[in-house]
């Protein structure tokens, strides 16, 4: 390069860089000087209008209840004068965003969708103990009190480690149940019963072994109606852990000692992993055998995949989340039945995947009050009923009182204006304390989960035997738990 005057010298460059840096720092300093202010409170405006003019941000996973809430926030705004803005994200993105928000010391999101395993357990210290708001005389009470929430869901979705404080209110309640082609079970009932030697009608009396034999029967005898007897959400994903856990628990296996309590209330120190037990290995061996006769595409499906295959008429039955009922009824109206999952040699288990809504601990006092109003409204019986009716989707209620409403009871039968309620009989059984399947609620569950579904996927591909798989998961989970959790 030719030299020519007047060329910027090294000194000029450094001087310019210094000036630019100083300007940026000054600008940043000025911007950050602005302090954060709480929302205004009008004390004499009544409990529901006292924070009018406030704006709340809710961060949630893209779920049916949130879609319904997002479509119907106007009644809340009319009631309180508070505007609600909702951000929906895929769960892993939500967890990342919530972790950053809680760590930053400022609440951009006052209301948080608190997944019990990925948000509540690891970040419980960043959430408000809602007892303080429930006891505040200036704030409205929870209609029906905490006791109106289905007890096992209140513990699983709202509490952590301690039975007293609660950090979230149960907000949705997807639960895995047996979904089957009712029309095909009716069509082949007598032949199947004759061939198999038992009544194949799905229900809590069936065993996993019988489920296996029914699936194989469909494979061999009903090719004109369905391609496979069963399909599963067995992709290398959270869904695989969910699908496998139903079998594991029903065979008497458990992730940790005292598994029901570790699932229901949670703990920071679950002790050694127990997946190397004979019962766990027997469960893994059965699951491996079951998947060997399932639709081979099962290994590529999560819950959406198996749900879509079922709706497309490819499968006679599958275990899946009960909130898929609404889309089943659209694709196969009147042709799908729902039952609790089969029992194993020791127990029966239906994986619960519900969540709660909580309040960020970084909120300022009046913001916190406004957020409480939203929680009370969003989980109220009236809102849960409106969600059931919503065309935008809607989940299923988490309150006992809603299931007792006459119109909700009536919707349990076809034709139903609330198709998710067609599963009510099955999920009511599934939510019994001895039937509900609760994965470990421990802060490091996310990592453990990854180890579990990764190794299970290797088992299904034939790279490891069930025994080796259970042992390798135990070894990895023990290492993860031993590292502990700091939040």
């Amino acid at each position: 390069m030719d030299r020519y005057p007047p060329q910027p010298s090294r000194r000029d460059v450094l001087r310019g860089a210094l000036a630019a840096g100083a300007s940026a720092a000054l600008g940043a300093g000025l911007v950050s000087c602005g302090s954060r202010s709480d929302v205004a409170r009008t004390a004499d405006a009544g409990p529901w209008r006292q924070f009018q003019g406030a704006t709340l941000n809710l961060i949630s996973e893209n779920t049916a209840p949130t879609a319904a809430i997002a479509a119907h926030t106007k009644p809340f705004t009319d009631l309180t004068g508070i505007e609600v803005r909702i951000v929906t994200l895929e769960l892993s993105a939500l967890v990342q965003r919530v972790a950053l928000d809680l760590a930053s010391g400022r609440a951009q999101y006052q209301v948080i969708y608190a997944d019990p395993y990925q948000v509540l357990a690891p970040y419980q210290r960043g959430l408000v103990d809602l007892r303080s708001l429930q006891a505040d005389p200036n704030l409205p009470d929870l209609p029906g009190g905490v006791g109106d929430f289905i007890p096992v869901q209140m513990d699983a979705a709202g509490r952590f480690a301690d039975p007293e404080p609660f950090y979230a209110l149960p907000y949705d309640a997807p639960t895995m149940i047996w979904q089957y082609r009712r029309d095909l079970f009716e069509k082949y009932h007598d032949r199947m019963a004759g061939d198999l030697g038992f009544d194949p009608t799905p229900g809590g009396d069936r065993t996993w072994e019988e489920y296996f034999r029914i699936a194989r029967w469909f494979n061999e005898n009903a090719a004109s109606d369905v391609r496979y007897g069963t399909g599963h959400q067995a992709r290398q994903h959270d869904s695989l852990m969910n699908d496998f856990s139903n079998v594991l628990w029903s065979y008497g296996g458990t992730y940790f000692d005292n598994g029901r309590e570790v699932g229901r209330l949670g703990t920071r120190d679950p002790g050694p992993c127990r997946l190397d037990s004979d019962a766990a290995i027997a469960g893994a061996e059965f699951y491996n055998r079951l998947l060997s006769i399932a639709d081979p595409a099962s290994k590529t499906w999560d819950w959406d995949g198996v749900g879509a295959a079922f709706r497309a008429g490819r499968l006679a039955m599958c275990p899946n989340w009960h909130e898929f009922a609404a889309s089943n009824e659209t694709a196969l109206p009147g042709r799908v039945g729902y039952a609790v999952l089969p029992r194993g040699p020791v127990a029966t288990a239906n994986m619960y995947g519900g969540t709660g809504v909580g309040i960020s601990g970084n909120t300022l006092p009046h913001e916190r009050g406004a957020a409480w109003l939203f929680l009370v409204w969003a989980t109220s019986p009236e809102t849960q009923l409106a969600n059931l009716r919503s065309e935008a989707g809607g989940g299923t209620p988490t309150r006992t009182s809603v299931y007792e409403m006459p119109e909700v009871r009536a919707a349990e039968r076809r034709p139903s204006p609330m198709p998710n309620m067609l599963t009510a009989a099955a999920v009511r059984q599934a939510w019994q304390p001895d039937r509900i399947g609760l994965r470990p609620k421990i802060p490091m569950w996310n990592e453990c989960n990854t180890a579990i579904f990764t190794q299970l996927s290797r088992m299904l591909s034939g790279a490891e035997s069930p025994r080796e798989t259970m042992r390798s998961i135990k070894s990895r989970v023990d290492r993860i738990v031993a590292r502990g959790w700091v939040a």
């Binding site: 950050s32 996973e61 749900g307 497309a312 490819r314 989340w321 889309s327």
Partner: protein, 314 residues
């Protein structure tokens, strides 16, 4: 180049025309006449190249065409187990995107503002800094240039947390300026590096002439050098725009209810109980089409820009 079946050309022809004539000559060769190994090899190469081009086109165009087609399908056709090529088109997916609480219009506005402003700023600042880098002679210049581009080498995940804390302190979370700054953080080193290579291509004698003619350094830069690097400016702008327009990683962390962009809107269609493929492909089309049109509109400069600077070694 000539063969026994084509007479020597009386005038020199461009290489491309010569190649074409060669191809025609081979094709016109009598069937019974034996071909030389060279001709046979040339034909095979030609077929192979054609095949590769066709495969490359299929690879790039089929997904786009499929996305476009799917965006006009109804819910049944889009999820049919047998792919439907012939169907009754519907605009429902596009209509639904602009209805209800998740109206797409604000997302489009946020994307246009964040991507557009950040790309303009990246080009403006990149041109100034790149010019300085290209023309300055100082010790450690190469180290400085490498340090600038090395900031682009870190994965986004590695810088997201510190940036989030800084942005939180500055009140930039959930704001368009915050997104602009985030994109600028990532695009500016790239813009500086790229523009520096373009400026290095321009002979410094041009500036000397301008300075001798009475221009100030700024005038020489603005009136003489910048117009000569138009293709570089366009290339840099488009590449920065495409990055910011398509970005999900920064947007998912730094945006909020007031600043969510199109990729976030697309991700919201992947829900716990299913994926709305019709609307997802409609958003995909809305995301892709403007960038394709922008690329086509400036393709002349883009092609020049992408090849210019390749030989300078800067």
């Amino acid at each position: 180049m000539s063969t026994s079946t084509t007479p020597p050309s009386p005038t020199p022809r461009p290489a491309v025309a010569d190649e074409a004539a060669h191809g025609r000559a081979i094709a016109a060769a009598p069937r019974g006449e034996p071909q030389s190994p060279l001709e046979s090899s040339s034909r095979r190469t030609r077929w192979l190249v054609t095949l590769l081009i066709v495969l490359a086109m299929l690879w790039t165009l089929v997904p786009l065409a499929w996305m476009l087609l799917s965006s006009f399908k109804n819910r049944v056709d889009v999820t049919a187990s047998t792919p439907q090529v012939f169907f009754t088109p519907t605009l429902d997916n596009y209509r639904n995107l602009f209805r209800g609480p998740n109206n797409l219009a604000p997302y489009i506005l946020h994307s246009v503002l964040a991507a557009g402003i950040s790309a303009l700023l990246a080009v403006f600042l990149g041109a100034l800094a790149g010019y300085g880098l290209a023309r300055t002679q100082m010790r450690g210049k190469r180290h400085l240039a490498f340090w600038i581009i090395s900031t682009r080498m870190a994965p986004i995940a590695a810088i997201v947390v510190p940036l989030f804390l800084i942005f939180r302190g500055l009140g930039l979370i959930d704001s368009i300026p915050g997104l602009v700054l985030a994109y600028l953080t990532f695009n500016l080193p790239f813009a500086i590096w790229l523009m520096s290579a373009f400026f290095a291509e321009v002979p410094s004698s041009l500036e000397e002439s301008a300075l001798v003619s009475g221009c100030s350094r700024w005038q020489a830069f603005y009136l003489v050098i910048l117009p000569l690097t138009k293709s570089g400016l366009v290339t840099t702008f488009i590449l920065c725009l495409v990055f910011a327009w398509n970005d999900y990683a920064f947007a998912v962390v730094f945006s909020g209810p007031n600043s969510q962009t199109l990729p976030i809107a697309a991700s919201q269609l992947v829900t716990q109980t299913g994926i709305d493929w019709g609307q997802l492909t409609a958003i995909g089309t809305i995301v892709v089409v403007p960038m394709m049109l922008a690329g086509l509109a400036v393709r002349r400069w883009l092609v020049t820009g992408l090849t210019l600077g390749a030989v300078t070694g800067e």
